[in-house]
């Protein structure tokens, strides 16, 4: 049976989280999901629009909800794979349901664009919720042809999928288990990660780096303490912060962590026997090939142009090594 979903990709999945989109598209037919993209969707506003204009931030989301309701043919379920998109869409819909004035004003604004949205018309769900609660762990297990035996992973949910959880989608808002169960079903060894819903730093990587580095450090350190081979995530912001800023974080604290951050859809694809290339593997900054080769999965070497780019920070480090800086002694020890 195929589950049809109105798909809201969001800005991140098209670019910074491209591997998430690629792996989702690759596994969809195997798990019986049919994605229909919402036509001409716009940005959800992330955590920034609402900081400036309350009402307009809901109107921004309202346009997406109205477009989804118009397009719904045979389904009223809107699926977002990005946690911030999921939260923003769900939040506006539920606020419009309980707040008559907000509903009136958002629709007044939508009317300026010839649109209307009756709150509650579509149902907003996160991808993980649909996979675990609708399709079910047993169905997923049936698809596994290459169990990820021996791969030790830290399941990392981040904040916005787990909280505030107005629809009661999860068993626990601080220690949910859905991703843990899913990863066990595909054969991975899952650690009981105490920091699973702690913050990745959010927009602090753009506002105050040291604050963000400390939050990134806690998570990577925590996963390393549990001897995780890699962390698995379901949010583009979490993946970006932990992956792309990990080397900067290491530089900041004079540490030497190497903790790959992959999307859960990528690991599902591997367990389903799909090739690493179609799952967007190799596009991460903290390379996962070593961790995956331990269980016999070879990720193709990065393209030459990528290696050149990766060389750059290393070369800079060497130049700095000539200066009598205390941290250099430290990094040499490592």
């Amino acid at each position: 049976m195929t589950t049809k979903l109105l798909f809201y990709p969001g800005c991140s999945l098209q670019r910074t989280a491209r591997p998430y989109l690629d792996s989702l598209v690759a596994i969809s037919p195997l798990i019986g999901i049919e994605l229909e993209e919402i036509q001409d969707w716009n940005c959800c506003g992330a955590t920034e629009y609402i900081a400036i204009h309350h009402l307009a931030s809901h109107a921004l989301v309202g346009r997406n909800l109205a477009l989804a309701a118009q397009q719904s043919n045979g389904t009223h379920t809107v699926m977002a794979a990005c946690s911030a998109c999921y939260l923003n869409l769900a939040k506006t819909d539920s606020y419009m349901q309980v707040n008559a004035q907000l509903n009136r004003q958002v629709n007044d604004a939508l009317q300026a664009g010839g649109l209307h949205y009756q709150p509650g018309t579509v149902r907003i769900r996160h991808l993980l919720d649909i996979i675990v609660n609708d399709i079910g762990i047993e169905e997923i297990r049936k698809q596994v042809v290459r169990p990820l035996k021996g791969l030790r992973i830290a399941p990392y949910y981040g904040c916005m999928i787990a909280r505030p959880d107005r629809d009661n989608r999860w068993d626990n808002v601080e220690h949910p288990l859905a991703l843990d169960k899913l990863m066990k079903a595909i054969g991975a060894e899952v650690i009981d990660f105490p920091l699973k819903t702690h913050c990745c730093g959010g927009h602090m990587t753009q506002i105050n780096m040291p604050t963000a580095y400390e939050l990134i450090r806690r998570l990577v350190y925590g996963a390393a303490q549990y001897h995780a081979d890699l962390m698995v995530t379901l949010c583009p912001m979490c993946q970006l912060n932990l992956d792309a800023y990990q080397s900067e974080m290491n530089r900041h604290f004079h540490t030497n962590y190497h903790m790959p951050i992959l999307y859960f859809t990528q690991l599902m694809g591997l367990a389903f026997g799909l090739e690493p290339e179609v799952l967007g593997l190799g596009k991460e900054f903290v390379n996962a090939s070593q961790a995956l080769s331990r269980i016999g999965i070879e990720v193709p070497a990065a393209e030459p142009e990528l290696e050149m780019v990766e060389d750059k920070p290393a070369r800079k480090k060497k130049e700095k090594a000539g200066l009598p800086m205390p941290q250099m002694l430290h990094s040499e020890e490592e």
């Binding site: 664009g113 959880d165 105050n208």
Partner: protein
């Protein structure tokens, strides 16, 4: 404890006190829905749960006490709302169910409207971000990162170049922004919403 003191306690259940015209009332009215801000009992669960409290000028609990004390200026100058990472830990743990994250968003928009916050880095980031949404309908990471870093961290910009190039090489960033088809429709909706917002 005698019967009378118990009776007195029972006779007056805690109520949210927000004198009209007070800053507390202003914040409550500017937050959509029932923020329950007046119900804060100053327990400090919010600050204790906050991942970035260590770098805030005031913990959320202190901010709520300051709002009640009508310290408008100090509250709007505080970096606290800008250091909120929207993790919602405080919100789900608050025993009084105060919608803390929403209140932080309200304080940000008030501070921006009145240009109160001393360090403009965070408000500028939000402004630049929404600028791209208003022009294209979608966010544009390369432009956002470049413009923001040029303005606020010009000296650190060279150290960010490898990251930017790495994103481009991995095709995790585009050189050009994407524009939605009906951008005029979106602009009309947002313009009307902002009109209503100011009118409120």
């Amino acid at each position: 404890m005698d019967d009378q003191s118990l009776r007195v306690q029972n006779a007056s259940p805690p109520t949210a006190v927000s004198p009209p015209g007070s800053f507390l009332q202003e914040v409550i009215e500017a937050t959509p829905g029932d923020s329950r801000l007046g119900m804060c009992i100053q327990c400090g669960t919010c600050g204790g749960s906050c991942p970035s409290a260590a770098d805030m000028n005031h913990t959320p609990r202190q901010i709520f006490a300051m709002i009640r004390a009508d310290l408008r200026e100090e509250v709007l100058r505080s970096n606290t709302p800008w250091y909120c990472v929207s993790c919602y830990f405080c919100t789900v743990r608050c025993p009084q169910e105060v919608h803390i994250t929403d209140v932080m968003y309200t304080l940000k928009s008030m501070a921006i409207r009145e240009k109160r916050y001393d360090d403009s880095t965070a408000p500028d980031f939000s402004q630049t971000f929404i600028g791209y949404i208003e022009s294209y309908g979608r966010s544009y990471e390369l432009g956002l990162a470049t413009r923001h870093n040029l303005r606020h961290r010009p000296l650190q910009l060279p150290s960010m170049v490898p990251l930017g190039l790495g994103m481009l090489a991995r095709r995790r960033m585009d050189f050009a922004p994407q524009r939605i088809e009906k951008i005029e429709q979106l602009q009309a909706i947002l313009a009307r919403a902002i009109e209503l917002e100011v009118g409120v």
